[in-house]
Structure formats: C-alpha cells, structure tokens
C-alpha cells in the first residue's frame, strides 16, 4: 500500500516553539490514522448503526447527541443527527464496514484521505482551542469521548475529547496546513511542542 502523504508539508516542524518558560502548554501532533470513516444512519436506524460500530470497533457508544468513545487506537463519536465518525489506526475500515451496513439502514463514506486528524493535548489545550472555536471546552460541558461539530472561520472541524486535557480535531485536508499554522500561532503564548 502506498503511504499517505501528510498535507502539512513544510509547516510541520517538530520541536519546542513559542513561550519557553514553564514547559509546553500544549503538544500538537498529526495522528495519521489509517481509517477515518463516516457512518450515517437513516432516521430510526441510529441504534442499528451504533451496533455495527460496536461490532466493528468494540466501542459501545452511549446514547445522546455527540456521544462517543476513544480507546485502543479506535475512536467513534456522533457529530450530527444520525452521523458518526469512526476512526481506526488501521487501514481498511471502510471496506470492512460497507458489506455490513444494509442499504436501508445507512451509508458508509470513506474519508481517510479527506480529513486530517490533529491532536492537541496539555494543560492549556482548552485555552488554545477557545481562541479558535465558539464552543465550551470545559470538562462538564464537553465530557470525555464526546464529539462536536463546529467551525473556525471557514474551516469546518469535528472535535472529540479524548482525555481530560486532550482533543482530536478532524479538519478538511485542503485546510489542514492553514489550520495547523493557525493552531501553532494560537499556541505560542503558552508554548507548544510539535511531535
């Protein structure tokens, strides 16, 4: 299999940047999962799709808008009515899912190339993200595992909280370099490491 090229190119500069004192406020990474797949349920079929996700990934998603889970190199969350993003570090998830989703239940759309996964973690992750998005990142309002759809200017973004101070962001690939640059810029005042 041909390896995917990162869209970040020259703006991915590993190392420490920004404010030096007090250690990095955040760590930025491109996680490069092998599979990013959208599973969309037709109305009334949400439970069936959640069961398919559970079978395929072992992630049993809680009910409710934006509910999700992340564990063991796999993650899934709801980001719109009936729609879920399922992420696997392994390739080939879309091919595995397509045969098991009946036509009347929903659809599978492979976005493994179309979305770029960026992880921001660290004590200042909420602070940095709050500069870019008009949503509440505080833990009670945005619990672990949960997903959100939002936008920074024209850059549509899906966000999953993967830990107490960690978030995975999924942005359109064509915007990834621009978004990464913006994210680095926003992280300067707290200091950031790129890994």
């Amino acid at each position: 299999m041909v390896e995917q090229q990162s869209p970040l190119g020259p703006v991915w500069k590993p190392g420490a940047h920004g404010k030096v004192l007090g250690g990095p406020g955040v760590v930025l990474e491109e996680t490069r999962p092998g599979s990013i797949v959208q599973l969309a349920a037709f109305p009334g079929e949400e439970k069936a799709v959640m069961a398919i996700i559970a079978d395929a990934t072992g992630l049993r998603l809680p009910d409710g808008a934006g509910a999700g889970m992340a564990s063991g190199g796999k993650a899934a969350f709801g980001f719109a009515p009936g729609r879920f993003l399922v992420i696997d570090q392994e390739e080939g998830l879309a091919e595995r899912l397509k045969p098991v989703v009946p036509v009347a239940v929903g659809t599978v759309t492979d976005l493994s190339h179309g979305r770029t996964a960026i992880r921001i973690s660290g004590p200042k992750a909420e602070w940095v993200l709050s500069k870019l998005f008009a949503i509440d990142f505080a833990l009670p309002a945005f619990p672990e595992g949960a997903g959100r759809s939002t936008v920074h200017h024209d850059i549509f973004t899906q966000v999953q909280r993967t830990g107490p101070d960690g978030f995975d962001l999924y942005v359109f690939r064509s915007f990834a370099r621009s978004f990464w640059t913006t994210l680095c810029h926003a992280s300067e005042d707290v200091g950031y490491d790129i890994r």
Binding site: P10, G18, H113, G114, A134, A138, S178, D189
Partner: protein, 997 residues
C-alpha cells in the same frame, strides 16, 4: 519630587521609576501611574487642544470617561490616536504625543478659530458649506473644496499609515456568572457566586481590581478599602472556578447574554511576552450577568468650565488617593451634592489647600459641613461659579450668589485665586450595557439620573449602577446579586463593616449656571450650552435629532459626561421635564475597540486557505499560483522569459497536439448515497440520472427554484445506490447547501445522505490526443482502451500501486481522462503520470490554458452561469428533460425567461487582432467616444492557438440570429474599442470528433 506628588500614599510603586516621553520631552513617573497621573505629578496640566475651537484642555476625569486628554501613542512607525491619558499606563519607553495642535501644544495656530467662535456654532458646516453657490463651486462641490481645509483643522488624532505589526486574538469564554466591574459590589458578587460553585468571570476595565475601593478613604472590615479589595482578589484567585480579567473593558451586551470585552494584554508593557496578543477580544457567553459598573460623575456647565484645571471632584479624589497626586496646590470645589466634600477632605489630607467649597444648595448636611471643616475650607452655600480666569490653566475662579429659580448668578462677584477647580454635578449610574441590551432607562428625579432598566436579559444590577451609592449598600447588593445569579435562595451572611462618611449623593436639580462665555456640555466635540439651545430654536425637538445636529455625545467618549447636562439644557429650553425629553439608546461599544481585535486572526499567514494535494509540486515546478476563492491553483507554469499569454498558449497547444495534465482537485465533490439517490438526482438535475448505468458518468445541469441556471458538472454512478457528484469549484459550498436544504426541508422522506468528499479525492485531468497512451503506460489492473473505457465510462485500477478511479470525460474538447485517487496519494499518482507522459511530451497546464481550451469549445462556466442566465440562454435546453419535474422546471418557462430579446451565448472573434476584454460591452454602432445601446457583454476571452485569433464568449441579445454579423466591443474604462465578428460559441471541433475518437 514635584510639588504635585504627595509625599506618601497612593497605590503606585514608589520604588520603581518609569521613564517616558510626552511631545518628545522626557518625564519620570512610578510603576502603576497612568499617563494622566504621571504628567499631573510633573506639573503638566495642558493635555490637548479641543476638537473644533482648539481650546487648551486638561484632565476632566481620572478614568474611561475622559473627554479631553486624548493622546497618540507612537510605537515605531505605528501611531494609535485618541487614547485617554487616564487609561494609558506608563512603561519604560512609552512615547506619547498630544493631538490637534500645530505647531505645538502650547502655541497653536488653530486656536485663532476661538476668535471666530460665535460663528462656528451647531450646524455651522452644514449651513455654510453645503448650500451656497460661489462661482463654479455649487452645493456639494463647494463642500468638497472646503472639506480639505476643515479636515485639517478639526478633528482628533491622526491615524498613521504604517502597518500595525501587533497581533490580536479572539477568546471565546463561557461562564455561569459574568461580573462586570470589580468595585465592592462586584467583588462581593463574584465571591458569592464562586462560593456556590458557579463558573465566574470578573472583568475590570482598570489596571487594579477594586473600583472605588482604590480611591475612597473608607475602611472595610477595619482595613483600608483597597486592602480589603486586595484580600478579596487574593481569595478569588485561589479558586479554580474564577477567571479574573483586569484591563478588560466589557463594551457590548448582545442577544443571548453574550458580551464582548477588550482586554489590553500588553499595552502596559515595554515588551510583550512571546505570542502574547496586544489586545484580546473576549466573547463571553454568560448564564447571568452582574452589572456592577458603578456610576460616572457629571461636570457642571458654566462659563469657562473647560479651562485646564477644571476637573471632576471624584477624579481629584482618585488622583490623590490612588496615585498620590494633587490636581493643584490650591483648590476650589463646586458642587450640587455632598460627594465633593469627601474629595475636599481627601485633598486636604494629601496636602492641598482647599480655598472654598461653592455649593449651589442653600442647605448643607451636617456630615458635609463636618468634612468642609475638616478640609479647612470656606463653605459658600447658595453660591455658584460664574466663570474662570487664566490662560492655559485656571488661575482664579469667580463666585457669585446663585438663584436656583432661574439658574443665574447675581450680586457681587468674588474672585478666589486657585489653580484647580473641582466640580460635581451628581452621579449617573453607568447603565450603558443594559441600555445596549434593549432596556429602557428609568428617570429618577431624585438622583437627576437614568436608572438601570428592568432586565430584558438575565442581568442583575449591584452597587452604584442601581442608584444606591454607599459602599455598605454595594456590599449587600453585590452579595445578593451573586447568589441570585447562581440561582440559589438568599442565605444569611454577615457583611463586612464599612466606616464611611454617610454622605447624601442626591444632587440639587442644577446642572448649569447661565452666564456670559462658552459653557461646555460635550467637551470632546466642543458642544456648548448655547449650541443645544440653538438647536432647539431651529426646531430640533427630538433628542435623537439634537444629538445628530449638534453631535452631542457622538465623540469617542460617547457622551459619558455630557449626556445628562445636555438633556437638562434641552428640557429647560423646551420647558419640559427631562424624562419627557427622553434619552438616546446607548450603542456598543461602551469604549473604543481596536479594529485589529475584532478582525483577530483572519489576515496574514493565519488567513484560511485551501491547498490541493499537489500544491507543493506546482510551486516547485514554477507555477504562478492564483487565488480562486480560498483555493490556490496554478495559473501558468511559466518558463523563463515567457509572458502569461506565451505560457498558456504553449500549454494549450501541447494539449491540442500531444497531451497535458491539469490539477482538478478543487472541483466540488459530493457523495450522494442511499436507496433514493437516483430519485433525488432526477429531482435536482434538469436531466435524468436514474437511467445512468453503474460505471458511467453524465453531464448534469441544475436550476434554481426560480428557473435560472445554477451549476453544472458531471456525476458518476459508482454503484446502484452511490453517486459521486462534481460541481464547479466556486459553487461547491452553495450546491451542497442547496441539496441539503431540499433533503432536509422539502423531501425528508428520501433516504439519501450527502457528504462533502471534495478533500477525499485528488483529481488530475489528462487531456490530448496522446492522453490514452499516458494512461496505458502507467495504469494497472484495468484496460483503458475504447472498449473498457468509452466516452463517459469509469474504470478502477492502480497507478504506481495507488488505487485510482478514471473517468473519460473532456472539458478541453480533446480525448481526456480524469484520474481520481485518494488525496494522500495525489502527488504520488501525479508524479507517476508525469513520468509516463514525459516521453509523449506531456506538459502540466494551468487555469489560463484550461480557460482557453474551454472557450475554444464554447463550454460555459461561472462567467456565463452568472445567476441571470437560463439554460436556453446558454443553449443547454437540450438538457431540460420533459419527462419529469425538477427544481426550477415550472418557473423556467415564464414569459420573461423565454423572451426572444434575452441575451444568449455567442462567440466573438477580434477583427483588429487585439485582445478582447472580459466585461466589455458590445455595441452595434461605430461610436467610440459615446458608445451606446449595449447589446450584450463579453464573459471570457483568450488568444486561441487553435484559431490563431483573439476570441471570446459573450452574452448578446438575439444570440444565434447575429452569427456572422459584426459589432464592436466597448470598454471605455480600459480604453478599448474595436470591431468583432459574432460567431457560434463552438469555435473548435463542433462535432466533438476529437474527444469521442
């Protein structure tokens, strides 16, 4: 130590000296000083020249309400004008200049306009310059002539031209309780809300938290009020649920309990920290808001009330107590309420001589009398200031007995020598935010002020903003507000003890002393009491009209000090009560906001942009990139010495004669999936898609509901229930929204999912007679011959190990293939194609060549599908199915849309062998000087290598009927007029044999 700096006291840090310059002269102050306090301590009283009359002006206030002392801060080549000296904190290296003076602050030529002062009254400019006709300069032209000179003499600071290198940022914040103002009320509210577990933001516009606690000489819980405030802040900062924001002005109250604040992050520092923005624009969504914004003291209106040295009494008290600075060595106070007495005592304590307290009231409270005695001041009850004397500063004041029944002084004038005159016209609650939010202010005759309106959103007032001016009331109200804001029941608590003077801040209803000489209402816009009366005489009855005619309250201070005195004079002139005059609604911003903060980070290298997967390859191979919306696309791959035209002609020729490759990744791509996908497409496209076999593509056209053409593109059937729709680059977002709207709102019963997959696929179009040879050389896993891959056929295979999907379709008119692969494989596949094409002479081509090829073929794009044209206008009526209804099908046949005189698509050939201009009009008559009767316009132009002519596409009345006729293109702006022949838009290979072959 200057005479103006008290020997001790104040919250400044006397161990840290700070050096700065004002008008080029070096000064020294202390850390914690504002520019105002530092200059005052250095004996500077003249801060600026006024807006219209160039009168000398000094400090009126000590805070955000300052109308006079506006200065320009210089940072390198960047100048920021109109900063209140009272809000500007000094730091080492700060360079400030005064404004609106020439050649210098002390000797200003423009001050001569004072001599003509009578002439420059309200509406002066309108009356003088808008109407008259003087020679050839009539009406507006005369104004435009004069404006040049007026602009030089009137106005505030001058903006610079240098680019502002500072960074700004936006911060989105959420909280249960936002407390605006950190005086005693705000501190209590924040504490109560925080103790109940609420997420709290406490915003303070000044450098120090504490508000009035910093300058009152009261004690709270047995300690100086400022120490009590410090202790409260220490406690709050220990909590995880409280965010403390100082230097943060909450300036806007919007729907949904959303408030905007501007935090001045680095303005007070010589050097900002790494990555720190200069200003941070906070957008705060609050569950509840505690408005603890306090009150603003008002000046009194009397002749000569703008002379430097005339200052608000509370400002003087603040300079003395917070900064250890005295406004003068010998002061007179002039008041209509008890508040000034506290200031007198504070100043006396700090070392100033208090010559007299002049009070318009005949009866003075015992508490006030006691303070007057404490200050050693002579008390002149029932008196008023009738005027001031002095040059650029007050040297003496004139006092006369005052007749409260007619507002005029009478009897013997006494002159008292003094270098400062401290005035108090009572207090106006700072209700600006509530007014912005739509609340209607309530007039209180008792306080001569507008009170906080009833809540229109979830806010609670606490402290002086409610019209309760004592600190003990502020503490109680603040505590209650903090509890109410977190939604809990009242809980008994022992409130801190306050030792205060027990003064009554209710003013006598006197805001003006009438007499000879200019008496200013709006200091910043130079509006006098006479201007207000003149406006009344000229028939301006509504307060809204008064405001616009006199510009009262329209300066950068938004009338913080002038609003009530102006209304009082208007009411008096009309013979009505102030509440019947009404007030204007306050609008955001409460205080000026830097544009940079609002624009935040949407410029420079953080402006969003979209790059295709092959972007770096294009740049490395010499492409000139072109911004198409947010996308960057290669325009040409120029070789050294080539012009743009030479480059695209070379590229287009290569496509026609051999083969070329172009990046088409920017085309909008939408996955249309589900059992009803084909049905859905039949409804949104004008032509049929349910009949399209799997593995084939079809060109489709969409109309809007009104029957106008909307977008076109090919849609590929990948499976029974799965289509890949392509749209034009520019319309990708709009088409997606259009389709989503119909699925969600109109046909929710259809089982279809739409997903943007624009970014999933990299696309390369390989076009030219040798294009199939290129594919044959690199594609594996499928044949690409005519049988396997007929026109509009789709196959899947691999190129250099990467999966690809290939569709044979043509935009150029040549045999062509669109090769799609995963975006992350885009460069890999592109390189493999380039490698395979090298022996065949393949060249990469850009947008210019792409455009040339399509113009030669007469294909339409957004230039022709411009939101006004119909399918018929574009000769696409063959695509309008008669077998089914579709979006726009009922509206497209309306009379006006089928009229024969509509413009329709034609080709143009330049007959003078010069380029045609896009956007040029087409006229029938040879009249270059006065072109008339346009019959249409040019939509696209190029040099056609295939025809060897300059050609274009155009929309022309009558369309086809004009084929073979001549006309002229007319483009007077770009000075182009020339003959053209109108021809068919199919310039090249009209039968399409090349792409089908």
């Amino acid at each position: 130590m200057s005479a103006r700096r008290a020997a001790s006291g104040g919250l400044i840090d006397r161990d840290k000296t700070v050096r700065f310059t004002f008008d080029g002269r070096p000064y020294v102050g202390f850390a914690g000083d504002t520019l105002a306090s530092a200059l005052l301590a250095n004996g500077v009283t003249l801060f600026g020249r006024s807006f219209k009359y160039h009168r000398p002006r000094g400090l009126l206030s000590a805070g955000i309400d300052e109308p006079n002392a506006l200065v320009t801060v210089l940072k390198g080549d960047v100048r920021e004008p109109n900063i209140p000296a009272t809000l500007l904190e000094i730091h080492d290296g700060l360079a400030v200049v005064s404004q609106n003076r020439f050649p210098s602050l002390a000797f200003d030529v423009g001050a001569a306009s004072q001599l003509a002062g009578k002439l420059i009254s309200a509406g002066f400019y309108y009356k003088t310059f808008m109407g008259p006709a003087i020679g050839p300069l009539r009406g507006t032209r005369f104004w435009m002539f004069c404006e040049h000179f007026i602009r030089r003499s009137a106005g505030l600071g001058r903006a610079g031209f240098a680019k502002d290198p500072a960074r700004y940022e936006r911060m989105n914040a959420f909280c249960d309780v936002l407390v605006v103002g950190s005086g005693p009320a705000g501190l209590m509210a924040a504490k109560a809300a925080a103790e109940r577990g609420g997420r709290v933001i406490l915003a303070e516009l000044d450098q120090r938290f504490g508000g009035s606690a910093n300058w009152s000489d009261e004690t709270i819980d047995g300690m100086p009020a400022s120490s009590w405030a410090d202790r409260m802040i220490d406690e709050l900062s220990e909590r995880g649920n409280v965010r403390l924001l100082n230097r943060a002005t909450v300036w806007g109250y919007y729907d949904g309990n959303t408030l905007a604040a501007l935090e001045r992050v680095t303005d007070h520092k010589s050097v900002g920290g790494v990555g720190e923005p200069r200003h941070r624009h906070w957008v705060i969504r609050a569950g509840a808001v505690v408005l603890a914004t306090g009150a603003l003291e008002r000046p009194l209106v009397f002749p000569g009330n703008d002379r430097p040295g005339v200052m608000l009494a509370s400002a003087a008290e603040r300079f003395a107590n917070e900064f250890g600075v005295l406004p003068g060595e010998k002061s007179v106070l002039f008041t209509n309420n008890d508040g000034a007495y506290r200031a007198a005592a504070a100043l006396a304590k700090a070392g100033s001589v208090i010559a007299a307290i002049v009070d318009v009231r005949a009866q003075i409270s015992p508490a006030a009398k006691g303070l007057a005695a404490e200050a050693g001041a002579e008390l002149l009850a029932g008196h008023a200031i009738a005027g001031t004397e002095g040059g650029r500063a007050v040297s003496a004041v004139k006092v006369q007995p005052f007749d409260a029944t007619n507002g005029k002084p009478f009897g013997d004038t006494r002159t008292i020598q003094a270098d400062s005159l401290l005035v108090s016209g009572g207090w106006s609650p700072a209700i600006h935010l509530a007014s912005q939010a739509g609340g209607k202010p309530q007039w209180s005759a008792e306080l001569q002020a507008f009170l906080l309106p009833d809540a229109t959103q979830n806010w609670i007032g606490a402290g002086a903003v409610t019209g309760r001016f004592s600190t003990s009331e502020a503490l109680a109200q603040g505590h209650a507000a903090g509890i109410a804001a977190t939604g809990g029941p009242e809980m008994p608590v022992s409130l801190p003890d306050v030792a205060a003077h027990g003064l009554d801040l209710r003013p006598a209803p006197v805001l003006e002393v009438r007499g000879e000489g200019k008496a200013f209402v709006d200091f910043q816009h130079d509006v006098t009491a006479d201007d207000v009366r003149l406006a009344h005489r000229e028939g301006f009855v509504s307060v809204e009209h008064l405001k616009r005619y006199t510009t009262l309250g329209m300066a950068t201070d938004q009338g913080k000090t002038s609003n009530i005195p102006g209304l009082a004079i208007m009411a008096e002139a009309q013979g009505v009560a102030i509440e019947d005059v009404g007030t204007t609604r306050f609008r955001p911003p409460f205080a000026p906001v830097s544009i940079g903060a609002l624009a935040a980070e949407r410029f420079g290298d953080v402006k969003p942009e979209r790059l295709t997967p092959m972007h770096d390859w294009h740049v490395e191979h010499g492409a000139t990139m072109y911004a198409a919306g947010l996308w960057f696309r290669p325009m040409i791959y120029g070789e050294p010495g080539e012009t743009i035209e030479q480059a695209y002609v070379r590229e287009a020729r290569a496509v026609r004669s051999a083969v070329g490759i172009v990046d088409v990744s920017t085309l909008g791509k939408i996955a249309v999936q589900g059992p009803d996908a084909a049905t859905f497409l039949d409804r949104v496209y004008t032509n049929m898609f349910s009949t399209l076999p799997v593995g084939k593509a079809r060109y489709g056209l969409m109309l809007r509901e009104d029957g106008i053409a909307f977008d076109d593109g090919t849609t590929w059937r990948l499976d029974e229930n799965e289509f890949l729709m392509t749209t034009t680059t520019a319309n990708a977002g709009k088409v997606m929204q259009h389709l989503e709207y119909f699925l969600d709102v109109v046909w929710p019963d259809l089982k279809v999912h739409l997903t943007s997959v624009t970014d999933e696929w990299a696309g390369a179009a390989v076009a030219g007679p040798k294009s199939r040879d290129v594919l044959a050389a690199c594609v594996t896993g499928t044949a690409v011959d005519n049988a396997a891959l007929p026109f509009m056929g789709i196959v899947r295979g691999e190129i250099a190990g990467a999966p690809v999907m290939i569709c044979r379709l043509s935009f150029s008119g040549e045999m062509a293939f669109e090769v799609y692969c995963g975006a992350g494989h885009g460069t890999h596949v592109w390189n493999a194609l380039m490698q395979a094409g090298k022996p065949l002479g393949m060249v990469p081509y850009g947008l210019e060549a792409l455009g040339t090829l399509r113009i030669e073929k007469g294909h339409v794009t957004g230039a022709e599908i411009d939101g006004r044209t119909t399918a018929r206008d574009l000769h696409l009526d063959w695509m309008l199915s008669k077998k089914k209804p579709f979006i726009g099908s009922m509206m497209m046949d309306r009379e006006g849309l089928a009229a024969p005189e509509r413009i329709s698509l034609v080709g143009l050939v330049s007959l003078d062998n010069r380029p045609l201009n896009g956007g040029a009009h087409i006229v029938e008559e040879l009249d270059e000087l006065s072109p008339h009767d346009s019959i249409g316009h040019v939509t696209a132009t190029c040099y056609s290598p295939a025809l060897g002519r300059y050609i274009g596409l155009a929309l022309v009345k009558g369309g086809k009927a004009r084929h073979g006729t001549r006309a002229f293109i007319s483009d007077p702006l770009r000075k182009r007029f020339g003959p053209v022949e109108i021809v068919s838009h199919h310039f090249y290979d009209p039968e399409g044999s090349r792409m089908h072959g």
